[in-house]
Point group: C2
Chain length 256, copies 2
């Protein structure tokens, strides 16, 4: 049975998409069966995985609205890449239509049920907001992976995110856990990064991944080639860090 | 009469709040009368300006819903700082309530009318989405300042933003112009930054500010002290760049 992970943080630009795309590719390299769901109207995870968000005949939007089953919309990948349930700007209109549906928070969860036996991991890239799309991801998820830039505004926003997780757990998804917090774009030379990192360690203990993603230009270059860095430049520090993250995650799940 | 500028880009983490807070402070240093409106539920511009988003008796939320006039909610600053119309997480609920109001897109524009004679500039920090809050800012604005990180996903998202500006101009605010595109977190050593910058120059010509904001750690440190970098460390490259931006903007407006 697939483990469903939401990659979420309402703070913008903290590395949600970079984590989603590269972790999906790294888990696939470790011979897992992986699906990546792009739930962000920006469609960045779609483009970063090599698909064209402007040329989709259908996307996760139709799946949320019940117009297509997920398996018809998924773009299967070859041996080396992860499958993709693509997203694009249609999601903005879908979110408004979702608001008037009775089971609006659990549309994605229902849509993923028939897929769970086919995958080991289903990752969901979330938009930078605590909107109905992100709530759908949190209701569908077993765990939340929180990418954290080690800076003030990102740290400051963590309280609001944890509050939302608590409300979703209480009312909509009892099993929702924090899978882990991941330090991203980390610059060890900066006092600010070290200070924030120390605060995260004090608060979250072993829910903070030991793996830290360094700031590495190859992670920013890879999307313009439509590839995860894990394929674009496997020897880069950014790619190696995501392979290490996949390894840490797999070890945790095997122990559990 | 105040010039109203929306600081907008749905791509997350491109420097909207950093630009809003530091440009407001720099314009104030240049002896302009300045109001900063925080329209992001994250409340980052509020915290970055030294206010406490958790201790507000009222915020821009009440102003949008017509429960309080803006002048009662504004936190006047001393001589050296900009006035603030603060925002916080209440904005998330306000956005849902706005959806059912008849004039939902122009609530902010109406609320700012009585303030226009008191200020030279009104800056609006927008959330990372093309939602009803951002549309309110675009309807209220004379111009849009677009912070642009010179990386692939930010460049890729520009088309969607320009499309939204076009729709707002056609249906809701004929006078809406692009005030300018601002290159942020710029690292001249990176080929990616240089490539993207060249593409922006080719497409936007003189609508691209000559002033470029460099990546500078003091800009990331200042918010944890509740101050704009322009006050926290006026000699830093980040602060100097925002003072230069204010100068470039004032020269453009005087010439117009
Ligand atoms: N470790 C890193 N080193 C260097 N650049 C990075 C790193 N991680 C992400 N980036 C770049 O920083 C920018 C922001 O990252 P990304 O888009 O993944 O964040 P996000 O949280 O998904 O943003 P949004 O809130 O808009 O969805 C992108 O241009 C990306 O390529
Ligand atoms: N030029 C810069 N140099 C270094 N750090 C910067 C710079 N500009 C912004 N930052 C830091 O980068 C992070 C993102 O910037 P900021 O929060 O201003 O972006 P934003 O577009 O407002 O994000 P959001 O989409 O969440 O509203 C913040 O931690 C900020 O302190
Ligand atoms: Mg993203
Ligand atoms: Mg912001």
């Amino acid at each position: 049975m697939a483990r469903v992970l939401a990659i979420a943080n309402q703070k913008g630009g903290v590395g949600k998409t970079t984590t989603s795309v590269n972790l999906a590719a790294a888990l696939k390299l470790a011979r897992c069966r992986v699906l990546l769901v792009d739930l962000d109207p920006q469609g960045n995870a779609t483009m970063g995985s090599g698909a064209d968000k402007h040329a989709l005949s259908a996307s996760v939007c139709e799946v949320l609205l019940g117009e297509q089953p997920a398996e018809r919309v998924i773009q299967p990948a070859g041996e080396a890449w992860h499958d993709l349930l693509p997203g694009n700007a249609d999601l903005t209109a879908a979110e408004v239509r979702l608001m008037s549906l009775p089971d609006r928070e659990s549309r994605l969860r229902e849509a993923l049920v028939p897929l769970k036996s086919r995958y080991d991991y289903i990752l969901i890239d979330c938009p930078p907001s605590l909107s109905m799309l992100t709530v759908n991801a949190l209701v569908a998820a077993d765990g939340v992976l929180i990418p954290m830039q080690c800076e003030y505004y990102a740290l400051e926003g963590l309280t609001a995110l944890l509050g939302t997780l608590e409300r979703v757990r209480a009312r909509l998804n009892r099993g929702l856990q924090i899978e882990g917090l991941l330090r991203t774009m980390y610059d060890p030379r900066s006092n600010l990064s070290r200070d924030v990192s120390a605060q995260l360690q004090a608060h979250f203990g072993d829910r903070l991944y030991r793996t830290v993603i360094p700031r590495n230009i190859r992670l920013a270059e890879a999307p313009s080639h439509g590839q995860p860095a894990v394929h674009y430049d496997r020897q880069s520090r950014g790619a190696i860090a995501h392979v290490a993250l996949a390894g840490e995650m797999l070890r945790r799940h095997r122990r559990a």
